[in-house]
């Protein structure tokens, strides 16, 4: 097989272009480490390596909380699943999915695996937006929907969040009546399977 100079240069140019496009751009557009992953997600680097971006976990999620990362969060994470509590809570604890975890079962690649304990992250409160904190009481919807007794403690009619006890299921975020929401789930303290 003979390759002349024109062919060689052409291939070289094409591969440099493809290499830059597929290899280096995503490497530099790394996703922020704050993506909240579905239950049972392995460590982030391994997760990005294993995940096939097939969307099956999103498809089987009964609450619709799993959605796919768009280009805005970095090309490397494009198409990988994230948990968006604004769409619904994750019911992997004390809910429809407890002990079933359809997302983990649907995952073909091992990016989501059965773990001993689930913690997606923890809820964070913005007190300047919270109705109870602004009006000195009146709203405790987050406490009412929270499945973990110690995660939200009420002192003087105001909710205090305990990030260590919180599982990051997002029920409080989903239910929060403040506009805009005073709560969000961050990946802080998330337990990853290995």
């Amino acid at each position: 097989m003979k390759i002349d100079r024109r062919t060689f240069l052409r291939l070289l140019a094409q591969f440099s272009a493809a290499g830059v496009l597929a290899g280096f751009i995503p490497a530099y557009v790394k996703p922020s480490k704050t993506i909240v992953r579905p239950p049972g997600a392995v460590e982030e680097d391994l997760f990005l390596a294993r995940c096939l971006r097939c969307g099956r976990c999103m498809e089987v999620c009964p609450t619709g909380t799993i959605t796919l990362v768009g280009v805005d969060m970095g090309l490397l994470a494009l198409g990988t699943p994230r948990v968006d509590a604004l769409r619904g809570p994750c019911e992997s604890f004390a809910g429809r999915c407890e002990g079933l975890l359809p997302c983990v079962r649907s995952c073909p690649s091992g990016a989501l695996q059965w773990g001993r304990r689930i913690k997606l992250g923890s809820a964070e409160i913005d007190r300047s937006l919270c109705i109870a904190w602004r009006r000195n009481g009146g709203c405790l919807v987050c406490k009412e929907v929270c499945p973990v007794p110690e995660a939200i403690q009420v002192q003087e009619k105001k909710p205090h969040f305990n990030p260590d006890a919180c599982l990051g299921c997002g029920r409080c975020v989903y239910a929060c009546p403040a506009e805009p929401k005073a709560l969000k789930v961050a990946s802080t303290g998330a337990l990853r399977t290995s």
């Binding site: 097989m1 003979k2 390759i3 002349d4 062919t7 052409r10 291939l11 094409q14 591969f15 493809a18 290499g19 496009l21 597929a22 290899g23 995503p26 490497a27 680097d45 391994l46 990005l48 390596a49 294993r50 995940c51 096939l52 971006r53 097939c54 969307g55 099956r56 999103m58 498809e59 089987v60 619709g64 959605t67 796919l68 768009g70 280009v71 805005d72 090309l75 490397l76 494009l78 198409g79 769409r87 649907s106 073909p108 690649s109 091992g110």
Partner: protein
Amino acid sequence: MKRISYLQALRFLTPIIFLGLFAVRLGFSGTVCSLSFAAVNITCPLGFIQSSLAARGFPLALLVSALIPLAAAALLGRFFCGWICGVGLTLDFTRRLNKKKRLSVPKDLGRSMDIHRLGMASKLEGLALVGLFLGISFLLGYPAFCLVCPVGILYRNVLLASTQGTVGLDILAMPVLVAIEIFASKSWCGRLCPVGKTLSLVSAWSLFKPRVDASSCVKCGVCAQACHVNIDPVTANTAQLADCTKCLGCSDACPKKCITISP
């Protein structure tokens, strides 16, 4: 315009039916990247190899699910590309519309993109591209081609649209690919697509290939012009025929009707 055969019409319908099945999630669950059909998992072989290289390991079940499409390709060739893939369908339509409308291509660009002038480059670049993406996957630790795979992007967005009513910005890869197809006809499916090339790798001895009846062939070259993946059925060897997507383009185009797609 020439009438298209019933089988050719069916070939345009099947990808639409599959897209519809994925959209309504009837019988299928997932996307072509990984789907489950009647409790059997099927995974894109290229995605499997990349993911395994990136993660330096794989679950056994994933290997089995990736062997199914490879076995199908070894038996039937790249029928996925010609009969199922929605990207292939889109580009097919693009070519057909473009043939009628003749969008003007700048002369220089047209020349530099002409498949027959590229020679060896066009034969090698597809395979080399597969190697490149596998290398990046291994070195940098993520399935490199999956990030930009038009096939995955299309089906993922179909799923996104059907489950959540939105699509991602990455769907813009489709119009880009259509634009490329207009300016450089037959450049994606036959030359570049790494998914197709992966299937080609196991398709060399598959059943169903274009067979030319040499006694009635007049070597007019119409079949080579019609082929979507740049095969000349009259002269092609086994390795070149591995790219055949069973699209029936050559047998429909042949003025002497001397090409049959048969075992």
